[in-house]
């Protein structure tokens, strides 16, 4: 079917002892650097796949059996980090566009949390994703991918995104492994703080 089975890197096997798969989702607009970020920390070359969902059109069900079906297809890519002998973390890069959120519950229910990757030249691309994550109750942080000449300081970014004060906002370089590691650690630190804050809501 294809020649990829000959690529050794895609087949780096997991340890046989691994039992626990975990997920973190990186959401961001087109070209913001999601795949680059995933590639920087992944132990495999990022792979891509897709999910499709067919749903009955809204509001047409009563029309004498004429059900209008629409198919939603969302492509996403992912990488992998073996954390220890039992746990493996999958990092998903996903587009934040509207149709994607139809599939959020099917694909990303149970995610540890999310990183919203933003480009200050197109901050408005992130508004919708942030709104949806809040709606889904998914904890997240925001990482500003530092493109050359990205002018705004982080306070201005926070204001432009109307981010709550307790949502971490950090700078990163999606090409740099250490920088991306810091982003992930910031997210998990944030999740840890939330989880130990008490019973939560």
């Amino acid at each position: 079917m294809d020649s990829r089975t000959s690529d050794p890197q895609a087949h780096t096997p997991l340890a046989s002892t691994v039992t626990e798969g975990l997920k973190i989702v990186v959401v961001g607009g087109f070209g913001v650097g999601k795949t680059t970020l995933v590639r920087s920390v992944s132990e495999i070359r990022p792979l891509s796949t897709e999910e499709t969902m067919t749903q009955a059109g809204v509001g047409v069900d009563d029309n004498a059996g004429a059900v209008d079906k629409t198919t939603t297809t969302v492509a996403f890519d992912f990488g992998r980090i073996s954390l220890n002998e039992q746990m493996v973390l999958y990092l998903f890069g996903a587009p934040g566009q509207e149709r994607f959120w139809f599939l959020w519950d099917r694909l990303f229910a149970g995610t540890l949390g999310a990183v919203v990757l933003v480009d200050t030249r197109r901050l408005e691309d992130s508004w919708y994703a942030i709104d949806r994550l809040e709606h889904h109750g998914t904890p997240f942080i925001v990482a500003r991918n530092s493109f050359p000449g990205a002018g705004h300081d982080l306070d201005a970014v926070r204001e432009a995104l109307s981010l709550a004060g307790d949502v971490p906002l950090v700078d990163c370089d999606a090409r740099d492994r250490e920088s991306v590691k810091r982003v992930l650690i910031t997210l998990v630190d944030h999740l840890y703080a939330l989880s130990t804050e008490g019973a939560g809501t």
Binding site: A10, K23, P46, E51, I81, M87, L89, G110, V188
Partner: protein, 119 residues
């Protein structure tokens, strides 16, 4: 990154692969459920089933299998559910991050932190 040509997989072929089933709702397989093969594939098995069994001699997540087969996640889950039901593969479902709790267990998060810091 690898771009697959999923569009070239006609709907007829997907229909045949899954013998007409289109819903994987009852499989309770997650994107990151880890699949491990038990034993060897046998002659006469569906070729996708054989590929999955070969691929999962070491654990592989549902999403990795989907990417390797070049099939949508839902179709992959249906194929996997056949193998699970037949005892051909074992599914290691995630325990820590269920959808009913918005926040995962602090003990799990601590292990994730240690793992990330050791990268």
């Amino acid at each position: 990154m690898t771009r697959r040509h999923l569009d070239s997989e006609g709907p007829d072929r997907l229909y045949t692969l899954t013998r007409g089933r289109s819903s994987s709702k009852d499989t309770n397989l997650d994107l990151v459920t880890l699949i491990v093969t038990n034993g060897e594939p046998e002659p006469g098995m569906q070729s996708e089933h054989v590929r999955i069994m070969r691929m999962c001699r070491a654990p592989a997540a549902v999403v990795e299998i989907s990417a390797e087969l070049g099939l949508p996640v839902g179709v992959t889950k249906i194929l996997l559910s056949d193998l699970v039901a037949g005892g051909r593969v074992t599914a290691r479902n995630p325990t820590s991050a269920r959808a009913n709790a918005h926040l995962p267990d602090a003990a799990i998060l601590k292990k994730v932190l240690v793992g990330l810091k050791n990268l």
